[in-house]
């Protein structure tokens, strides 16, 4: 079974509709996804080649219960062990994997769980990524907050008690340029202790500029590490360029960022291969930049406005848990974030096994924190959401729930130096 991603909107002009259909049906209308566009920086790096060669040769059907047993018994988890833990042969060992993962998490992080919230400041997008609510052909309310509106949102979030924020935009350089994002980040430094961004990939000098604006963490999701699959899902726009996205974290580190975050969007392609590649992306970059802080996320596909059928296919909660346990056992030192795409029950359980960070008080829309946080309805225009969230717990509820699970919620563990 596959997801049906193509949805036409009656609001599109005939010319736009025609172009959309051509992109969807005529491969000759598509740009080469492995070719950089003008202005995109090319860096010398062998990380990509290392990750992709491992991923391509990964045949998870060859692993047996014996390999999984050995992987669980080894004190240090090798790349081969990790592959065994990701394989279907490891499924019957899920509880044991969870026990081992829990021990590793507790050694490195104790009983802490970090809380953060995302803040979307604009949802304009120049790309046609078929599964995303922000894609340029999806008919949604578009919005870009001005600095006054951004400050208003930040005040409301900061008043709730949150100290770490992740600033997001849709991927439109034209509507949300780097300077605009930089100004928002400077503002965020006033209200929050820690500021991260999840925006379109940029060049090293632009990451350096954002770092100077107070940002220290950069999240870029590769969506899928399978470039052939990637090009069938990202049909148009700068996001179509797969290798420029792959090297984003490395450019961010060269630009002076303290930490970087990685993920595939599980459900787009073969999740075992994507999980392997995500973790190896971290593994090889960490060897090259040992001072950098690394973290992994694990989003699964969610329904979007105008397409409520989108789902993560074969990645159920058990498979997701297997991936997260394998991540933890292979990379005991990395942060693992589980977003509000997952249910409250799943998040309450996984923070006791492998996850170290959860979001709370989440909105993936634009300019709607006041109504969502206070229930106060207003007439102000709002931008639509990127995807539907599942766990809508507020900061306060999350704080109480995490404490109730015997965990220690941490709001900040960071100094900007």
């Amino acid at each position: 079974m596959e997801n049906q991603f193509f949805v036409d909107s009656e609001y599109l002009s005939p010319a736009a509709l025609e172009k959309k259909h051509r992109l969807e049906t005529d491969p000759s209308s598509l740009k080469n996804h492995m070719e950089y566009l003008p202005g995109m920086e090319i860096i010398e790096s062998d990380v990509c080649q290392q990750v992709i060669s491992q991923m391509n040769s990964f045949d998870y059907s060859i692993y047996t219960a014996r390999d999984v047993r050995a992987a669980l018994d080894h004190e240090t988890c090798s790349v081969e062990d990790f592959k065994a833990l990701l394989s279907p042969a490891a499924e019957p060992f899920l509880e044991e994997m969870a026990q081992k993962a829990r021990m590793e998490t507790s050694k490195h992080f104790g009983n802490t769980v970090y809380l953060f919230t995302p803040l979307y400041i604009a949802n304009y997008c120049e790309n046609y990524c078929v599964y995303c609510g922000f894609n340029c052909y999806n008919h949604i309310n578009r919005m870009k907050l001005n600095m006054e509106q951004i400050e208003h949102e930040m005040k409301i979030i900061a008043d709730s008690g949150m100290e770490e924020i992740l600033i997001l935009t849709g991927e439109s350089r034209a509507k949300s340029d780097v300077q605009y994002i930089g100004e928002a980040c400077k503002m965020a430094r006033k209200y929050f202790r820690m500021v991260g961004v999840e925006i379109y990939p940029v060049n090293t000098d632009e990451y350096r500029y954002l770092h100077e604006c107070g940002v220290d963490y950069v999240t870029v999701f590769q969506e899928t590490y399978d470039a052939d699959k990637y090009e069938t899902l990202h049909l148009f726009g700068h996001k179509r360029v797969w290798p420029y996205r792959f090297d984003a974290q490395e450019r961010a580190l060269r630009g002076g960022m303290r930490g970087v975050a990685f993920s595939a969007l599980l459900g787009l392609s073969d999740f075992r291969k994507d999980a392997l590649a995500s973790a190896l992306h971290v593994y090889y970059l960490q060897r090259k930049y040992p001072h950098a802080e690394m973290s992994l996320s694990c989003p699964r596909l969610r329904p979007i406005i105008n397409n409520d059928k989108i789902n993560p296919l074969d990645i159920g909660e058990k498979q997701l848990c297997q991936v997260l346990c394998a991540y933890r056992i292979f990379l005991p030192f990395v942060g693992i974030t589980v977003s509000s795409r997952e249910s409250a029950e799943f998040r309450n359980g996984i923070v006791k096994i492998a996850a170290t960070k959860v979001s709370a008080g989440v909105s993936t829309g634009i300019g709607d924190h006041e109504s969502k946080y206070t229930g106060k309805e207003d007439d102000a225009v709002k931008g639509d959401e990127q995807f539907e969230i599942d766990d809508d717990r507020s900061f306060e509820t999350m704080y109480e729930d995490m404490s109730g699970e015997g965990l220690q919620p941490v709001l900040n563990d960071y100094v900007y130096v």
């Binding site: 040992p290 001072h291 030192f333």
Partner: protein
Amino acid sequence: MINNDKLIIGGHEFNSRFILGSGKYSMKLIEAAIKDAGAEIITLAVRRANTKEHENILDYIPKGITLLPNTSGARNAEEAVRIARLARELGCGNFVKVEIMRDTKYLLPDNQETIKATEILAKEGFVVMPYMYPDLNAARDMVNAGAATIMPLASPIGSNKGLATKEFIQILIDEIDLPIIVDAGIGRPSQACEAMEMGAAAIMANTALATAGDLPLMASAFRQAIESGRIAYLSGLGRVLTRGASASDPLTGFLRD
């Protein structure tokens, strides 16, 4: 002798030789842990204390306990110095544990940068306690830079692997005139006891407590182990037979007076 056995760090006297870590277990347990550990010094990460009013770790530390802020998060000497100064501004006092890591996987300390930071901070009047990889030359440089103690690691932080660097820590104990405080990797009371028998001046532990089933009970076990090890050290350990029995007839009995 035992009654007057004080740990002296930068001119300050302590009765306890157990330094507690914080940050890996619930703040509500800090008070109980301090009590059962009999601890007088507790470390805290400045970056964790860099928070607004919501449950600041500083609020959970009882009065009369010496705070030992650490510079975790620093990747070089300059960052460590800035974090130490921030600690002072936050009201954490003059003690500082210098931790400089350029490796997020093993969290191994960078001795060279630590020497530099030690020198700057000692000149600024801090009581500097550098966390280091047990290397004699680096330790001597830290002494010359003005360190108040030397804090070698037993094994990687959080690993609970015990005295993996035992031989090198022994060299520091033998050669360095400052208190040697064994930090990181001590996973069991028996390992803490062993380090104290060797002549370590104190033990610092965090993960060993945080991962225990009953944290205050483990704190109490560590306290007893550390005290036992200290008493054993002070009493002068007896002969240790490494290979079978030794000959009862002396080999040098033939020598004439």
